[in-house]
């Protein structure tokens, strides 16, 4: 009985993780502009991978005692995903990627009157950004 329950939990976790990761990648493929595309991978894919790891954790725990190292990867993924999303958004703002025309709000970082630094032109050493 307990085995059946655990197997069901593992299967559910694996499939839920797969579906979440697939939806995240679908968002990455078909949304309109970069800032919207950022949402899919940063949230949905992270949770998908987290679900898969927890499924695998239950799978290995049920055979030979508790195995919790896989929690390390899950925690690592959940801590690092927001940081890389933030850095990517920042570099997109720096490159002044155009947002979708429906986007409301006009941040000063995207105004085009300031001189545009491309990677080649950027001054070495003392860049204006932190």
């Amino acid at each position: 009985m307990l085995d059946m329950l655990l197997e069901g939990a593992i299967a559910f976790m694996l499939i839920a993780g797969g579906i979440f990761a697939f939806i995240g990648s679908l968002g990455l493929t078909h949304l309109k502009d970069f800032y919207m595309r950022l949402h899919g991978p940063s949230k949905t894919t992270t949770l998908g991978v987290g679900c898969t790891l927890i499924g695998s954790l239950i799978f290995f725990s049920q055979e030979n005692g508790p195995v919790i190292q896989e929690l390390l990867i899950t925690i690592f993924a959940f801590i690092t995903a927001p940081v890389s999303a933030h850095m990517l958004a920042k570099s997109a703002l720096h490159h002044k990627l155009k947002p979708d025309p429906r986007t409301r709000g006009n941040p000063q970082e995207l105004e085009s009157d300031r001189p545009k630094h491309t990677v080649e032109e950027a001054p070495q050493g003392n860049s204006p950004l932190p």
């Binding site: 299967a11 797969g18 579906i19 990761a21 898969t52 990517l88 950004l129």
Partner: protein
């Protein structure tokens, strides 16, 4: 039951990696491509973990941990380069 779920999850993650690859190839801007490659890193962690379940060997988790760390560090390094044209100051 687990075998079936494993196949479904493997198929979904492979499809996700194919979609990421498509975005990495067509991506109109550099941040788009970096984002696509970062997502590919995440999905390949899951693929390796699933493979570990398939062959019933938990040592594959170390490979997954290494990929997670390399993926994060390389994404941050490329973002730094895009932001300033320099990685280490």
């Amino acid at each position: 039951m687990i075998a079936t779920a494993l196949w479904i999850a493997l198929a979904l993650f492979s499809a996700a990696i194919a979609l990421n690859f498509y975005r990495a190839v067509i991506g109109p801007s550099l941040p788009d491509r970096v984002l696509a490659v970062d997502t590919m890193y995440m999905n390949s962690i899951a693929l390796i973990v699933l493979f570990g379940i398939w062959v019933n060997n938990k040592d594959y988790f170390e490979a997954a941990l290494l990929i997670a760390m390399l993926g994060f560090v390389s994404t941050i390094a490329v973002c730094k380069y895009l932001l300033r044209g320099d990685i280490i100051e």
